[in-house]
Subunit: 628 residues, 2 copies
């Protein structure tokens, strides 16, 4: 096993990859202050340690100990629970790359040694098989999740190699990958895993090791999908991403996390192979997803049944599934599409998903998690400290620990800033040498972004700043700029500053009229953030079922929310409706409509959606009807 | 085992029962003509025979043969599939009571003999246990469905005794019931079944045999619910109807079929015991269900997840579960509430459910079935000829075969007609002897109902005719009558006729504004029937996502639908919207709304909801937005 000295970044295309933008070494990027910095800090100080305790308490680490022969007992948890350990390890790796920590290092060391001890001589590793039933190996490709777990092991190994230089876990991942290639490679058994994940992992393993064997295996496994191998069971083929060949697919459907993990892998595969049919399919699928199947929060998955993406425009706010892992999968995919195309729409959707559908998955104190993220909850919903299906918590941890990887990229001729946070960004621009930027901003709460060039060589290069799709009337150094990338090509000097002003004042957003479930409703947004209404903030006696918004008056900031991180609240003109005469009447002849009482005007408080259910567990809703 | 000579009816309260109304012997009721008669005919000629073939094909009968030691092999189907056979047998019984048939009798005889052969010496009978794992007996009370299956066996036995006088199956049911009483009676093991059904069956078994042991057992099993015996699994306690004691429950929740079967049993238990706490709970649960958790079609069950009733006002049309069995459970419960209270609202909801949520479950040709019955389908949905979970088809069969039991009742002083069909109704009115009515009507298509007294003794008695809640402006013999029961107390003579005129002209119906999922929409109804819009009937180039209704103009009849049983179509003024400028835009700032093109006026055709998906499998919707 060779490990190429690569960037410390979540996704590192090879030098010959078909990408327009390239990631920046994470060691050069620091998010210093603000919301994202706080989330990274809480992840480090609270969530990662909480994860260690819960993996212990749930028996997930014990399962590996039993596989290693270090203890005996009964295996606990889901068939795929090993992956919880690997994702948590991946989070440790990125976090150690961000800032060394003896405590985290000790946890990582101990756990990697355990994983090494559990691995079988031939490279196989799966505690279910090893502890419960050795004959089970490769027998349940549909729901067994063996390759899925293997993929997460590989991703964790890659993360350690990149972030810390420690290749010991990568070695274990490669040994397993070699066995998988022998077992399922082009000339071996024709099978795939019911849950995509290994595809994206294998491309990264190829990138990290230079071994084209892994890229070929990724291609083989990807190309086998869609043959209907998994027909005839509770779920339809789309659940397993086995309904049609990926190169033919024009629509995205099925289990949301599976669909999005696969899309990330397919996009990576395109990046490394240049296989245009893959990119064509990805672009069509993305268009459909982004314009007809994505929630306002960036959340994806409209159905509890099959944890599935729905039909176009099927976006019920209350029964939204919007698994936190699907938000993460969407961020993974959008980042890869951004690298490949350089188009801002991918960074736009990444931002929407990050600040809403993703961040909502973690409590402000970092100790509890949402699995599903609806946009309406009539009776409230409480985050859980862990979950029998514990895929989301460590997934949140690995994304937060690597969040700084997603701020900026480089091209041959410049640097692109996609996400704004008070940060330092140091990168090598091929045509211009090392560039260091200092970004100062109160984003996402404030829309003023000051970018200062701290260091650069004496050469012309381009600074590109993303103007988000929602940011109309944006101004860069006094000049209006349109959504997309504002590009400034100059011979920059240290000390040069530019100021981007994005209008984050609260606004009302309307849905496409084809979205039946929120017909006649509007939502409140503020910069990249979706806002929501919680029971506890309503006027005395009012209920979430009986308030409406006046769309004639613009919403305004109402000042910091003391009980909610000091985040800005938004005040919206609305009414409390009097629906008493409807009590007991479910449906009625239109000629006999009960007379609605005179609505009482009210100023309604909206709070950031991601912060909901942090002050109790009352009801919540994002979309409210327009008052008539 | 003693069988009391009882009425041929689905529900037969004892002489001392706490009921206001009593069922009529089914031998005195004939539905002669019209929609319901046709559905009974198709059930007899097509569906029952189809059921026999499918039970054979699916291995459901083979399972019993294996249990009886008549064949060997591997058991097939769900753990509860024996109940499919019992429900089908129950349907045969009612159908044979309606009209003798050598073919049906031979099928019944053969199957009852098979059931007898399969029963163990101690009365136990469950093919899963007997064929797959004898040690499994009573080991999985949560999901094993042993008492559920036993309940259906008892109901089938009761049906044969009442409809045909054949008590052989009843004897088998009693033997099993005796074993269950020994195993789970008041002083035996404290357990219940995760799926209610035995409760309602045991009360009927008590009624049929006079053995109070069964009533006590029903009370014991019912009263044990709500102790949280089934805590800690994929489903919450409400799924198993184990979240709170039935006497305390004020709200109806959980798995819809389980909730409704239990409610039917609890209502029967009240009827036979007079335990007021049971009735109080039933009335409160019904109020909540009927005013906040019932679909326009009468369908119940808002969630695929857990097949559950949702929160109040959570009624998504597209993701509605509305299992056909839940419609049947609701009809069972409403009929019992009607007997107990004599109030028309229960007959109203029964009618709504019967003509819409229930009838939609069967294709017009009688050969295929819906399991779920949504009120909107974007891509269409096809009925299945059978289903791995085959609870619905035989449930449909037993209700259709006994439909004539639900038309009318008697009280001491009169006869009440609840559902209208061209029919003969002969009943004994205690104060007035035998009364025979002839009902002539084109109902539900026409609202004219002529009731003629064909025979009666020379005594005063009361004829009560239900005026449905939807029927405003109803007229009885020229006099306006309000919804509820129009009561005519007279010394009737043979040849007397009354004419009830119900206005079935098409109308538009609006939902309670708290029902978020259909905000701003209206639906078309015509008499007791909900109508819907199908893709195939739209103007060229229009789509279901882009049409809207004009509420200022009343919908009108458009004549018989040749391709759809000749049922009357309804023409509604509407528009085809031009939403092209919204393409690609999912959400937008309200200040930048795309301009909607000028809508094109269009006459839109609506067809009866129950008949949808009989001409192909395009999309459908019941609720359409109002055009603005």
């Amino acid at each position: 096993m060779t490990s190429i000295q690569a960037l410390d970044a979540a996704v590192v295309p090879t030098a010959s990859a078909h990408v327009r933008l390239r990631p920046i070494d994470g060691r050069g990027v620091v998010i210093r202050d603000g919301l994202l910095a706080d989330r990274q800090r809480v992840n480090r100080e609270v969530t990662l340690v909480h994860g260690a305790q819960e993996l212990e308490r749930a028996g997930t680490l014990d399962n590996l100990r039993m596989a290693a022969g270090l203890m005996s007992g009964e295996r606990r948890g889901m068939v795929f629970s090993d992956s919880d350990v690997y994702k948590w390890l991946e989070a440790l790796a990125w976090e150690m790359g961000r800032e060394a920590s003896p405590e985290l290092e000790a946890l990582a060391r101990e756990t990697i040694d355990l994983v090494a001890a559990a691995q079988e001589p031939d490279g196989y590793l799966n505690s279910w098989c090893q502890v419960v039933d050795p004959a089970w190996r490769w027998s349940d490709m549909k729901m067994g999740h063996e390759l899925y777990c293997a993929g997460h092991l590989m991703q964790a190994g890659v993360a350690f190699a990149r972030a810390t230089g420690d290749t010991s876990l990568l070695t274990l991942g490669c040994r397993f990958a070699d066995l998988i290639d022998e077992s399922f490679g082009r000339h071996a058994r024709v099978a795939i895993d019911g849950h995509p994940e290994i595809e994206v992992a294998l491309v990264e393993l190829y990138r990290q090791t230079g071994s084209s064997r892994y890229l070929k295996l990724a291609d083989t496994l990807t190309s086998r999908r869609g043959a209907g191998m998994f027909a005839g069971d509770r779920f339809d083929l789309s659940y397993y991403q086995d309904a049609e060949p990926v190169r033919d697919a024009r629509s995205i459907a099925g289990h949301a996390v599976r669909a999005l993990y696969l899309a990330a892998g397919v996009t990576d595969l395109y990046a490394e192979t240049g296989d245009d049919a893959l990119l064509r399919s990805m672009l069509l699928q993305w268009d459909e997803l982004a314009s007809t199947k994505t929630y306002l929060t960036g959340g994806i998955g409209s159905r509890h049944d099959g944890e599935a993406i729905g039909d176009p425009y099927e976006l019920p706010p209350d029964r939204a599934y919007c698994e936190t892992c699907a938000a993460i999968g969407s961020i993974m995919w959008n980042w890869r599409m951004l690298l490949v195309t350089g188009e801002s729409r991918f960074a736009d959707l990444l931002e929407r998903t990050l600040y809403n559908g993703f961040l909502a998955g973690l409590s402000l104190d970092g100790g509890s998690f949402f699995y599903t993220n609806p946009l309406q909850s009539r009776n409230g919903k409480r985050r859980h400290r862990w979950h029998p299906v514990a895929c989301c918590p460590p997934n949140i941890m690995r994304l937060l620990a690597s969040l700084h990887h997603y701020l900026a990229t480089t091209s041959d001729s410049g640097i692109q800033v996609h996400q704004y946070a008070s940060s330092t960004i140091r990168a090598v621009v091929p045509d211009a040498g090392t560039v260091e930027l200092a970004v100062e901003t109160g984003y996402p709460w404030s829309g003023s972004v000051i970018v200062e060039v701290v260091a650069c060589a004496d050469a012309e290069w381009t600074l590109s700043l993303r103007v988000p799709g929602w940011a109309h009337g944006a101004v860069l150094d006094g000049q209006p700029v349109a959504p997309g990338y504002a590009e400034l090509t100059r011979r920059w000097r240290p000390g040069d500053r530019v100021v981007l002003e994005l209008d984050v004042s609260p606004r009302l957003t309307a849905p496409n009229p084809r979205i039946d479930a929120v017909r006649g409703c509007v939502a409140v947004e503020r910069g990249p953030l979706v806002y929501c209404f919680e029971d506890g903030d309503l006027p005395e006696g009012a209920s979430l079922a009986e308030i409406a918004l006046q769309t004639g008056t613009a919403p305004v900031d109402s000042g910091p929310l003391a009980a909610l991180g000091g985040f800005p609240g938004v005040s919206v003109s609305g009414v409390v409706r009097d629906l008493d005469r409807w009590d007991g009447i479910e449906y009625v002849d239109v000629r006999e409509l009960p007379r609605e009482g005179t609505p009482a005007p009210a100023q309604l408080l909206a709070v950031p959606y991601f912060a909901w259910s942090n002050r109790g567990d009352g009801g919540m809703r994002v979309w409210l009807p327009k008052s008539e």
